[in-house]
Symmetry: C2
Subunit: 445 residues, 2 copies
Amino acid sequence: MRLSRYFLPVLKETPSEAQIVSHRYMLRAGMIKQASAGIYSWLPMGFKVLRKLENIVHEEQMRAGHIPMLMPTMQSADLWRESGRYDGYGEEMLRVQDRHGRDMLFSPTAEEMFTDVFRSHVKSYKDLPLTLYQIQWKFRDEIRPRFGVMRGREFYMKDGYNFDLTKEDALHAYNRHLVSYLRTYERMGLQAIPMRADSGPIGGDYTHEFLVLAETGESEVFYDSEITELKFGDREIDFDNVAQCQAVMDEFTSRYARTDETHDKALFDQVPEDRRRVARGIEVGQIFYFGTQYSDALGATVQTPEGGSVPVHMGSHGIGVSRLLGAIIEASHDEKGIIWPEGVTPFHCGIVNLKQGDEAADGACDALYKSLVALGLEPLYDDRKERAGGKFATMDLIGLPWRITVGPRGLKNGVVELTCRRTGESEELPPEQAVEKIAKIYAGL
Amino acid sequence: MRLSRYFLPVLKETPSEAQIVSHRYMLRAGMIKQASAGIYSWLPMGFKVLRKLENIVHEEQMRAGHIPMLMPTMQSADLWRESGRYDGYGEEMLRVQDRHGRDMLFSPTAEEMFTDVFRSHVKSYKDLPLTLYQIQWKFRDEIRPRFGVMRGREFYMKDGYNFDLTKEDALHAYNRHLVSYLRTYERMGLQAIPMRADSGPIGGDYTHEFLVLAETGESEVFYDSEITELKFGDREIDFDNVAQCQAVMDEFTSRYARTDETHDKALFDQVPEDRRRVARGIEVGQIFYFGTQYSDALGATVQTPEGGSVPVHMGSHGIGVSRLLGAIIEASHDEKGIIWPEGVTPFHCGIVNLKQGDEAADGACDALYKSLVALGLEPLYDDRKERAGGKFATMDLIGLPWRITVGPRGLKNGVVELTCRRTGESEELPPEQAVEKIAKIYAGL
């Protein structure tokens, strides 16, 4: 993309309403614009990252054998009355009447809808196991929306629902989600730690939240520092393999890691003192086994091999996709701006032309641009007639991981400058070597 | 995908509420499920096609230089009051109050939102031309929703908005949209004819609807039969080239083609009688130049090269993405079911195992499946223990363009059967040749 043809409305001033760094940088880098309280328009670069995150979530869900579909945002109140949640949900539910006076609502979550699809179509244990999911806009009418996309009212979420014959099968689905979430977050450059969460009125041990450590996190977290040394990495996983998924679950949840909601001081004190950490975290996902709560209420049963009929065991599993943009920036930035992890960056590298209009510089930039595009990469070429300082400031703010700087002086020596956004380190090298190096960095991502 | 692991709830009976064939087949093929009147859940195979259509629209819009972003579904009423449309929009607009009593609405279209983003960030003619677009869920509270996804209440639409300095520039944007739409529909296997449309209270000649011919179409259409011989084909287009886009516009709109709303009998009678056609059509898109209506109302102005300030010239351009599924099926089916065009089919081919459990048949199917996947293709392998008749009926209903049938008898002679869904023609050939042939069909799509 050539910047002169893109729409990247970078702001010079820091917007006064933004209290945390991700909100500030998303506004300043022209990624979002507030439309109403807690509701945002996704400007082109914000949308581009959102779409990348969505695609990673889809890929990892499908890899785990989960099946994508899509529910409508507007739902009839009837199903929610059947499950008993309509009256109790409170003011966070956006309630609407349509022109015929029928009660509708903007879906804040979709247990009822998925259970309804299931009960309409699945009758036999032979069709299990089954995990269906969607990535769809949700609405929760927060009383005080804040922190930009981190606690908005309209937000993009992946929510998945497993349907299983037995509790054991459902717990395998639970583990499978944990494994796939670990992969998902690592691809996004995040370390998200599964922490035992509060299961609320439903009870049971089976819910974990995934938290990204960040000073601005809304939750206080307590953990054994050994947990931050764990990496999921490239390991091959057979998602049907119960023992393999259980082993990953055990590895990533056997050490102490809890939020303030479930913190147990006595247990925490058993962690060796030099490994005890108290910090703050941002919740980016949650997995949950809740048994037959919804299948009982909505009559979602299957025939068993023996001929009887039993309610299915279910769980629900969420990833806050729009919120992840905020979380990634909270976890990866400096005083100049965002630092995108390579796996989610909106453009693979920036090209800064130090002297737009100079024949050699323009030609070299065009050639670099074409070489990168030919390799399937997406560069952002700042081809505006601006001074170099402004171009550097923009590139630092929007946080592309790599920058190639092209100027007449370097070109005389046959070199351009390749700069790493994270370390700030630069090296001079011939243009074709810079292209090669960038291609190598992104190979396999 | 192995059918035993997929969620494809095919119905045996024809649902009584479905009046037109696309609605019937989408329900029967397990693509959608009605959630409320005019509101559908997109089951996995329906979602898969929807996503393919969405991707084609994105690719073609970006090819034309248009920039994707995303607006929220819930919007404040304030902007609509500013443009003067809030009170007049009528009961089709779904109006909501949030918990603080603020008037909101579920966006039925987004002229106001895009104009607001534009006026907030663009101040100079130097940033023009600019075309921004989104693909997002919209809501129109139709009094009598019907025909499945063809006239639903919650629907998925691409809406794009061009911002230009002059009327001439805006008309180039108009032509550019026409060209990109022609490409888009052809990739989907559709012939969509641009027809002069009614511009309503705004006036002017600059609006075309794109109509797909189908007996069940909601509009009566009148056209010169020569127009159906036009193909956009593979031609290379430079979307910046004003003359080139104008030439395509002229080629595709110089013959008579109008809907009942704009039909002019005297003009139609000038078409040679043997070329006059009266038929029915389904609207799948519309392009519109409306000048400065919204930029005047909302104060979207730019500085001119001479230093003055002028309102920008705008147009809006829509493609009904969810409606397209219905339109494609209306235009491409037979009495057995859907016939997907290769460009949008949910799976590239089906594999039918005539004797599940037979070692040779199972092995051959597995090998075929793996070969196709290795080539980047997506087969749907019916690995259920069902009789052959049921498997064929399902494949015909869901309409994959190609089917490979594998049975012990053929395998003894070293062959499988490759069947074309559209023609019904079959040929016997060795498995590796069947794979090769399918790969060739999809190469370049």
